[in-house]
């Protein structure tokens, strides 16, 4: 269901369905046609990444190309998810971009100290929002050379 190995999956961790819709719309408008997996809470995100729970059976070596991570999430918040991702050998090099409403300095600082690759605030103006998403996609999916899939540090 999630496409072939060559397709670069984006994991969108987002609990707000409207933000989800807007993000997907922005991706589409920017001609980013990669498949998007949506996790609606922190636990679901980790289940997907580590192929467990409802994602048991998925090959855990198939990691998404990019994780767009919201901070305020049910069950396990974004920073806890990030911590877990960086803690695990399998996912520690995974590009994670925090995409959130908060620009509280604490959140930004903690995000980076836990190993976020970028920190982007969701603009209210949709034109700006889609521009931000476009640039993110362009950078992380096209320009940036990531560690080959399955390769560990």
């Amino acid at each position: 269901m999630l496409g072939t190995e060559t397709e670069k999956v984006i994991l969108l961790v987002e609990d707000n369905p409207m933000d989800e819709e807007l993000t997907l719309r922005a991706l589409k408008k920017s001609n980013i046609l990669n498949p998007v997996v949506v996790a609606r809470d922190g636990v679901a995100a980790l289940d997907y990444l580590f192929a467990r729970g409802s994602h048991a059976g998925r090959s855990s070596s198939e990691l998404p190309q990019l994780v767009l991570l919201d901070l305020k999430l049910p069950k396990l918040d974004g920073l806890e998810v990030l911590k877990e991702v960086r803690h695990n050998e399998l996912t520690q090099l995974l590009p994670v971009v925090i995409l959130t409403s908060s620009v509280e300095e604490d959140d930004v600082a903690r995000g980076y100290s836990l190993g976020a690759n970028s920190y982007v605030r969701k603009p209210v103006d949709f034109d700006h929002f889609s521009e931000a998403v476009r640039q993110l996609g362009l950078y992380w999916l096209v320009l940036n050379q990531t560690v080959p899939v399955g390769r560990r540090a």
Binding site: D19, S101, S102, E104, P123, V124, D125, F129
Partner: protein, 607 residues
């Protein structure tokens, strides 16, 4: 020598009756006849006949006596010449001589024994000198005036020093010659009172003008009466009490300070016995002075604090003070009082500690206020923490729906715009604008709240550089604008970099915004420095404002322009004011409609 010299019976009887020594001598000074009065000196009259007078004269007086005898023989009478005679027993007596020569070639001489008179005179003189020495050396002014004219007749050294006038200038003159009329009248009035009353009059205080300025005297005046009881002289003795009075006043002032002090002031000996206890001590501890004087100060100490007093005593013994410290004392009714106590040693004139003085302040109220303040502070901090959490969620939770409003309005316009008429499309545009304005408002409010709450971090800041960068950003955002910017070089200040960046961003951003309708906009950042303060300013030639509304400028949400003219939320200048306020500075503005605005600020001592 056979011719009797006083053979005439009458003459002879006079010769022998006279109490004085009478003698007749030859011109060469030998006795021819001597009256019996000579027996008082142990001689028989006949023993002396034909003896030379000089033989009986004291060797020291002989030369002088011989010369006088020669004068007499030559015709110069001798009156009252005194010399010493040797008595038979070898003692000497003073004789006063009258002598003259007579035509028969003889010398008649009469001598009176003045030994006693001379002795009395000598002892009187000695007594006078003794009294003079006493009067002269009395350290108070002593003067004597004659009773009739009240002119000075005697005066001593202390008086000369006091008045600064030598006594020679005083003798024969009276008070009017030396003192202002009013003073002289007072002195003489008292003199008269004394003389009339015939007894001592005391003047406890009288001012007197002297060469050394105004002095205060305490004077006693006594009449000196003659044997008949008539006053002849007035004796005055004056003590200069100027310094004493000044000391007395100073003491009284100090005493009243001690008495009226709101703090308890307690004196005690090194052994702990209370020596003074003022009114506030009575009020504070409930013990009267009678109850506490001579009592041990330990009565005020709760048992557990006994050591404290020993410590203080030791410090005072070494002459050291104890700075105010907080402790507790026990009152008469047993309850304990929170006090602040300062202690210092009481030193004698040689600098030795002889006691302890304490100033005790009741700080019950102060401590209560402090505790209340602490509680209030804790409550404020708790409220701030809540506010923090609130802000955090505002930032997150309010923006999400706004994003949806904007995003889906955008989606409707894009995907379904063809279903809407122009009016409908315009309205959806309004919805988007409103959502974005609200997002801006939320951001501004968060900044304001952050400016208010964040810790200030002090460092040296290059304001010129900061202003230049801010203007660069503004120019970058609107490269098409024609704006002349002038930034004074080298303006360096102490402050919080982040907060000052927010302030300058607002001020320069405003200048940028309000000059947007100028074809040639000008924005200047600089400073004017006086000795008292450095004042920075941001000046523009933009829309300006009406000074009538200047007070509204810095209030949150107050705006002097409509959003259609110039957009904005009305939070920026309130934020600037908080930033400057937190730096201990002041911000104010001057402007005129369509003639630009200048915003001034200072940076004082930070909190």
């Amino acid at each position: 020598m056979s011719i009797p010299l006083a053979t005439d019976t009458l003459f002879r009887s006079f010769f022998e009756l006279a109490p004085d020594l009478m003698c007749i001598m030859s011109t060469d000074g030998c006795f021819e006849q001597v009256s019996h009065a000579v027996e008082a000196m142990g001689y028989q009259a006949d023993d002396l006949v034909s003896l030379p007078l000089l033989e009986l004269v004291h060797p020291d007086d002989r030369a002088e006596t011989a010369a006088r005898l020669t004068d007499v023989a030559r015709g110069t009478p001798l009156v009252g010449y005194e010399n010493r005679w040797r008595c038979k027993d070898g003692s000497h007596r003073w004789l006063s001589w009258n002598a003259r020569s007579v035509p028969t070639g003889r010398i008649f001489a009469v001598a009176r024994d003045v030994t006693e008179a001379k002795r009395a005179e000598a002892s009187l003189q000695e007594a006078n000198q003794f009294l003079d020495a006493i009067v002269e050396n009395i350290p108070n002014m002593v003067f004597v005036k004659d009773a009739e004219r009240l002119a000075f007749v005697r005066f001593n050294r202390a008086g000369e020093e006091l008045l600064g006038v030598p006594r020679a200038d005083l003798f024969g003159k009276n008070d009017y010659d030396f003192f202002p009329n009013e003073e002289a009248a007072f002195f003489q009035k008292k003199d008269r009172e004394t003389l009339n009353a015939g007894q001592l009059v005391e003047i406890p205080e009288e001012p007197i003008q002297t060469a050394r300025g105004m002095r205060i005297l305490r004077t006693k005046k006594v009449p000196i009466l003659d044997r008949a009881g008539t006053p002849r002289y007035l004796l005055g003795i004056s003590e200069d009490i100027t310094e004493y009075k000044a000391g007395e006043e100073a003491r009284a002032r100090l005493a009243s300070i001690v008495t009226d002090s709101a703090d308890a002031i307690i004196g005690r000996t090194l052994e702990g016995k209370i020596t003074s206890w003022n009114r506030s001590a009575e009020r504070m501890f409930g013990y009267s002075a009678e109850e506490m004087l001579s009592q041990p100060v330990s009565r005020l100490f709760p048992e557990r604090l006994a050591k404290e007093e020993q410590f203080i005593t030791e410090k005072c013994r070494r002459g050291e003070r104890v700075e105010p410290y907080e402790t507790v004392r026990r009152c008469k009714d047993g309850h304990e009082l929170e006090v602040s106590v300062a202690t210092s040693p009481v030193l004698d004139s040689s600098g030795r500690a002889i006691g302890v003085s304490k100033i005790v302040r009741d700080i019950t109220e102060l401590k209560r206020t402090q505790r209340q303040l602490l509680r209030a502070k804790e409550a404020t901090e708790a409220a701030n923490r809540e506010l923090d959490a609130f802000s955090h969620s505002v930032a997150h939770d309010l923006r999400a729906p706004l994003r949806s409003i904007d995003g889906f309005s955008h989606a409707v316009l894009e995907d379904h715009g063809h279903l809407l008429d122009a009016q409908g499309q315009k309205y959806l545009g309004f919805v988007r604008d409103a959502a974005q304005t609200m997002a801006q408002l939320i951001d501004d409010m968060l900044t304001l709240s952050r400016v208010t709450r964040s810790e200030i971090q002090r460092e040296t800041i290059d304001l010129s550089e900061l202003a230049r960068k801010t203007l660069e950003c503004l120019r970058h955002a609107e490269p098409e604008r024609q704006v002349d910017t002038i930034v004074q070089q080298g303006l360096v200040a102490d402050g919080d970099a982040r907060l000052l960046a927010i302030a300058l961003n607002n001020l320069l951003g405003n200048a940028w915004k309000f000059t947007s309708k100028r074809s040639q906009a000008q924005i200047e950042f600089g400073c004017t420095a006086t000795a008292a303060a450095v004042t920075y300013f941001v000046r523009d030639n933009g829309a300006g404002f009406d000074m009538e509304y200047v007070n509204k400028l810095f209030r949150v949400f107050e705006r002097l322009h409509s959003v259609s003219e110039f957009e904005g939320t009305g939070v920026g200048l309130a934020t600037v004011q908080r930033v400057i306020g937190r730096h201990g500075g002041r911000v104010w503005a001057e402007g005129r409609v369509d003639a630009g605005a200048t915003f001034y600020f200072t940076l004082g001592d930070m909190e």
